[in-house]
Symmetry: C2
Subunit: 336 residues, 2 copies
DNA sequence: GTGAAAGCGCTAACAC
DNA sequence: GTGTTAGCGCTTTCAC
């Protein structure tokens, strides 16, 4: 009892005109008489006609779609990115098809395969966040001939858009050094992930030759819980400053300290990274490094559209980061 | 200079066999000789063949896709829902195509149109969160003949899956009444949105005939900032308990109080709703009502798959909610 | 075991 | 202005 879907042919038959005319009319071709055009549109509406995208794409060899794979969607960073990009691509006349790899190289590979199979006209590739990246996916992408931009991390042979994480971290550390701390603790994650390695290395570089005791912890994961566990181990010997690899970790640290009656920033300063929603909704707003996702999205969309026009375009984009100073590093004035 | 994409015909020519055979071989049809099958697969791989989904869907009249529209993706509630559903539908052999309406009825309408045009086999409809819902979209959905389940809210004529918000709120209020408060403040949002109306009404109902001073505020929006602004206005006359329409608002309130040196729960108790990540990462973990998104996703996927099988299925699903008690309503023992 | 042929719904020359 | 025709890439009877 499946209701047959109405096609262009049904409309044609209904008003005794050819399929071609209906197609032209529906696409607003001025060659067809206004009267016929109207009649076609009316009966299309009356019959509840909805064009079949699959047929359309097949014949046009144009999908009007660009695809994106992101590692997670519950991570606010990627969620914002997806929304921004979805708007930007819409402005450019494309719709964005969203795939979630769940940080699983296998799923990522399938997502990319599916996009290619769907003949997307461009791909925004945000690789999984794992130490070993999957060369298979990259090869597939590179071999597909489909314009691809890699975001947030660097992939050899692809045009990349990312924020200047090193610069951001260095600016942050310079700022912190003005506080004359005697010790700084860095809470990072597993080694081998581009975005985390950048931050850690820049932290270390910035501290070169400075007379500050520093310690770097590699936690199993860069999340709230792991950060809290780490913080718990240092309660008896607090550093002056704790630099976290992202805002969510910093929030964990701040909350743990609050629970233990340790004041941020007076007893210990804490910084985040990303300038996500957590840095603002932290009980003590966080000093952090802003990654401007809005600008990233704009530049990515521009670049991709440009590449769709001209596949030979080679361009890497690096967006500046910005130091955002908030309460978590500003001791209260004693007088005031 | 566009690299021509390889088709089934190229493979056929390459090894001197018909297109039909290639197609059969690629789909693992046992009718074709194992040897040929292997040769086809090998050359397909060698040539970098990727099947054209559009052609495939056109001829099969099956897309293997179900679509979902959600109002926002940065809202953790929807993000979790999308991820859960994406996994559940994958288990069921479908891929999930994600659309974001940005709470804009116009965009929602276009998203639904696009899904129908793409011939998705099922639709998960999470309507925009606005007071006036758009009947156009609902009519389109209803008229499409595509199995649709509406989530999180009720739509006349559709199978709906939602949590028992009323029950959750009533349980919450009963629990709070045991604390013998003399006054309770409810912070809600604009009227006319299903999910918010449910909570507010259930709150009021639960307080019927109880000797508690209660006040209900309708804020312009159910977010962090609005909640903080509201909280600021009551500093001089604190109620015993503040019930918020969601966790994010409750977090705003908790943080504002922390800043002003007001203790939660000792000076005032605060509750959230949803049991999102915010309720756990709040400096004072929040008592809240859990909406079990995992179960919602499972039941929605089940129902939708069932409907794809049999379009006549009529079923509404209501998932029980659960009261989660945390520190924000548990005064510290004075002795201990 | 494999090929020929028809057709999915739509568009775009090219006729008339 | 409108109709005829061919074809996008794939699947699937039905012959052979």
């Amino acid at each position: 009892m499946t209701k047959r879907v109405v096609t262009i042919r049904d409309i044609a038959r209904e008003i005794g005109v050819s399929e071609a005319t209906v197609s032209l009319a529906l696409n607003g071709n001025p060659a067809v008489k206004a009267e016929t055009r109207q009649k076609v549109k009316d009966t299309a509406a009356a019959l509840g006609y909805v064009p079949n995208t699959n047929a359309r794409r097949l014949v046009l060899k144009r999908s009007g779609v660009v695809g994106i794979v992101v590692p997670e969607i519950e991570n606010i960073y990627y969620a914002v990115l997806v929304r921004e990009l979805s708007e930007r691509m819409a402005d450019g006349g494309y719709s964005l098809s969203i795939f979630i790899s769940s940080n699983d190289p296998e799923k990522e590979y399938r997502a990319v395969s599916d996009m290619i199979a769907a003949r997307v006209e461009g791909i925004i590739y945000v690789p999984v966040n794992t130490a070993l990246s999957d060369q298979r996916t990259k090869n597939l992408l590179l071999g597909s001939g489909i314009p691809t931009v890699c975001m947030s991390t660097v992939t050899e042979g692809m045009n990349c858009v990312l924020c200047d994480l090193e610069g951001g971290m260095k600016t942050l550390v310079s700022y912190l050094l003005e506080k004359q701390p005697s010790s700084i603790l860095y809470l990072g994650g597993p080694q081998g992930m581009y975005t985390l390695d950048c931050r850690r290395q820049a932290f270390l570089d910035a501290l070169q030759q400075k007379h500050v005791r520093s310690d770097v912890r590699a936690l199993p994961s860069v999340n709230y819980t792991c950060a809290q566990e780490a913080a718990r181990t240092i309660l008896s010997d607090l550093p002056d400053i704790i630099v976290c690899a992202n805002d969510f970790m910093a929030l964990g640290v701040v909350n743990l300290f609050a629970e233990r009656g340790i004041s941020v920033p007076n007893d210990v300063m804490v910084t985040g990274f990303d300038d996500s929603i957590f840095s603002v909704t932290s009980p003590v707003p966080l000093t952090t490094v802003r990654q401007d996702l809005h600008t990233m999205a704009i530049r990515t969309a521009e670049l991709l559209l440009h590449m769709i026009d001209d596949p030979n375009v080679r361009e890497d984009v690096r967006i500046p980061t910005e130091l955002i100073i908030r309460k978590s590093t500003q001791k209260k004035e004693i007088d005031a």
